[in-house]
């Protein structure tokens, strides 16, 4: 049985908007912690989440770890995603699906926000 990591993203009509999430998936793929690393989109892009789960199962996954790559604990994360995953669970009763907290809650986000601010301060200093 293979392990799979499924990153959940909102999706966007602008393809470039999905680049950050695609690069995170590439980084995680390179680390080799999971046999399969893939993305499922809630809206606008392919594959949608049910299709991404089907692809994991077709690829031999017995367990899927799901991380919502959302910054907010809004309605999508609180309601939509668990509902979609529970539907997948009904379809594949032997598949183990576990879900982590969402990306926006991670401490690394604080570090990145701070760094974005500090780089402005540094460029101001360089100007003076």
């Amino acid at each position: 049985m293979k392990s799979a990591l499924l990153l959940l993203a909102h999706g966007s009509p602008r393809p470039t908007a999905n680049r950050p999430i695609e690069r995170i998936a590439e980084d995680l793929r390179a680390r080799g912690k999971w046999d399969i690393v893939t993305i499922g989109y809630l809206d606008c892009n392919e594959p949608d989440i049910p299709t991404a789960i089907e692809n994991c199962v077709a690829g031999g996954a017995g367990e899927i770890v799901v991380t919502p790559c959302f910054l907010h604990a809004g309605n999508h994360v609180a309601n939509d995603l668990p509902r979609i995953l529970k539907e997948a669970k009904i379809k594949h009763p032997r598949l183990r699906i576990v879900m982590s907290d969402y990306l926006g809650s991670a401490p690394q986000i604080t570090e990145i926000l701070l760094q974005r601010a500090l780089s402005i301060l540094e460029s101001k200093k360089a100007d003076n």
Binding site: K89, Y102, A117
Partner: protein, 166 residues
Amino acid sequence: MSHTGLILFSHGSLLCGADSTLYLHADRIRVKQLFRHVEVGFLNYNSPTISEAVENHLQAGCTHIIVVPFFLVPGRFVTRDLPEALRKVEERHPNITITIADPIGYDERLADAVSDLTSSAVDIDDWNQLTEKARMACKGDPLCPLYGVKGCPVREGVKDEERPAV
């Protein structure tokens, strides 16, 4: 102390407690004491609005404000709505300088973040952390998507038609 303040800028959400994460990031940065004032500012649904946040920075004695968008990508909220909102505030307060920083975007630490988060993943049947958090932060707001569900009290006198379609 520096005269630079920091605003973490977000879209805002109707779900009670959805903004709690942003406050947490603001708290973690505030304790470092690198900025004269640190606050969150929202475009929609929540307060303080971005312009209220700027007013609060002025009260705190800031002359320069850095606004960091709490967004993964620079979509229209960041590239259009945020500069527009800030331009209006700057017209009222010509002595303040406001700089918009890059959004979160891609960062190699995001893969670390995902990897760390997965170590405490729970079975999907047990996954109700966010609705639980929302209920704890419940403001009884009829616009919240959870309004009226078990554990979220219904307010007297609010009619169904005042609620948005979910």
